[in-house]
């Protein structure tokens, strides 16, 4: 049975990908050990568990590692199928959920990273893709409570770490979330009312502080 095996999440508090895993595990009310990794000094366990990418998050279940945040979230959903389903039951609904979660990866977090890593002149396409991505997500959300409809699910989990990073992206991308994506801001607030989300997302001010520090340290200013 899934519960009797040891469960460890190798993570870094600031990673939006790690936040997804924490939310999924919290939704399933699964106990696990949270191991904070220092990405500048990766632990032997991390290097052993994810030899291909050497990155967090990694979920180690009974000694067996699962890597890639969306793969981890699906694994958590399938390993604990008896509670809090994260994906729809029907094949078409699942395909739609996977499509939008993949979209979030490409257009939000990958682009968002470019907003803070690159100087304004080099941001180029990234800002356009990012703001267009926000609009498409707003269209997809429509008037629904969550992306999953009434039930909080896979796409919500994939996107909600944005709420911890919005302030940072806004600052370095020079835009306002309220102006560009008011529906998403409102959706984010609704998600934050869930315990699983509130306990998994760090203070956006702390994320911003860390990114400023990293930018100075790497001469990105």
């Amino acid at each position: 049975m899934a519960e009797t095996k040891e469960l460890v999440l190798l993570n870094c508090w600031v990673s939006p990908y790690g936040m997804r895993c924490r939310i999924a595990l919290a939704e399933k009310r699964v106990e696990y050990e949270h191991k904070e990794e220092n990405v500048m000094e990766k632990s032997p366990l991390l290097l052993q568990s994810n030899p291909v990418h050497k990155k967090i998050p990694v979920l180690v279940h009974g000694g067996k590692p699962v890597c890639e945040s969306l793969v981890i979230v699906q694994y958590v959903d399938e390993a604990w199928p008896d509670r809090a389903p994260l994906l729809p039951v029907d094949a078409y609904g699942r395909a739609q959920a996977r499509f939008w979660a993949d979209f979030v990866d490409k257009k939000i977090f990958e682009c968002g990273t470019k907003l803070w890593k690159l100087k304004k002149e080099a941001q180029g396409e990234a800002k356009k893709e990012f703001t267009e991505g926000l609009k498409l997500l707003e269209d997809e959300l429509g008037e629904k409570k969550y992306f999953g409809g009434d039930a909080f699910g896979f796409v919500d989990i994939a996107l909600v770490p944005l709420m911890a990073w919005f302030r940072t992206y806004e600052s370095f991308g020079s835009f306002s979330a309220e102006t560009e994506a008011p529906k998403l801001v409102a959706w984010g607030k609704r998600c934050m009312e869930r315990e699983s989300v509130a306990m998994s997302l760090p203070d956006p001010a702390k994320v911003y502080e860390l990114v400023c520090y990293i930018r100075k340290a790497f001469g990105l200013e």
Partner: protein
Amino acid sequence: MAEAAGEVRLIGAWPSPYVLRPRVALNLKGVEYEFLEVTFGEKSELLLRSNPVYKKIPVLLHHDKPVCESMIIVEYVDGAWANSGHAILPADPYERALHRFWAVYIDDKWFPSMVGIGKAETEEAKAESAEQARAGLKLLEEAFEKLSKGKAFFGGDTIGYVDIALGAHLGWAKVIEQMTGLKLFDEEKTPLLAVWAERFCNHEAAKEVMPETEKLMEYAKIRLGK
């Protein structure tokens, strides 16, 4: 349950490895479908309507409902025709996670190195990309050993998720090998994959949809204006 071929349509183009993936999946499930061939780069109205976000092929239309992104389509086919043919993804959650991990690796890390070989402007750059591609294949060789458990495919006895993800690229891999004289699926360095590659290409679900190397070479020459 047999469906009229009109119920299942696939918008695609024959040279695309991404289009090949759902075709193999549909063949594995014995599903009849209408192949709506588009000229590569041409955006038909149906395509734009069905995939407004990316405007790209492949798009599967099942009862007119679109599914986009090749591996998402493959997983959809596996679920929608769960009672036909063999399962494409394994039943065990951990095994499924491994298959999904390697499919992501193939698309995000390995394929870009292959593209790098094609785009390289100097011999040095070409050699570097080829090294990266070969290093990726070594990892995939290890993955094959682990996932196949001594059987013929990543999926075991039958073609599975990772087989489809990687197998779709074999046509273009052969073109790159021929055009550059570089050996990628090397019998010495990755013996299991070298044998698997032949096996995949000859499998009844893949055989008729894998593009012939000569046809692809011709197509590449036209596209590259050589």
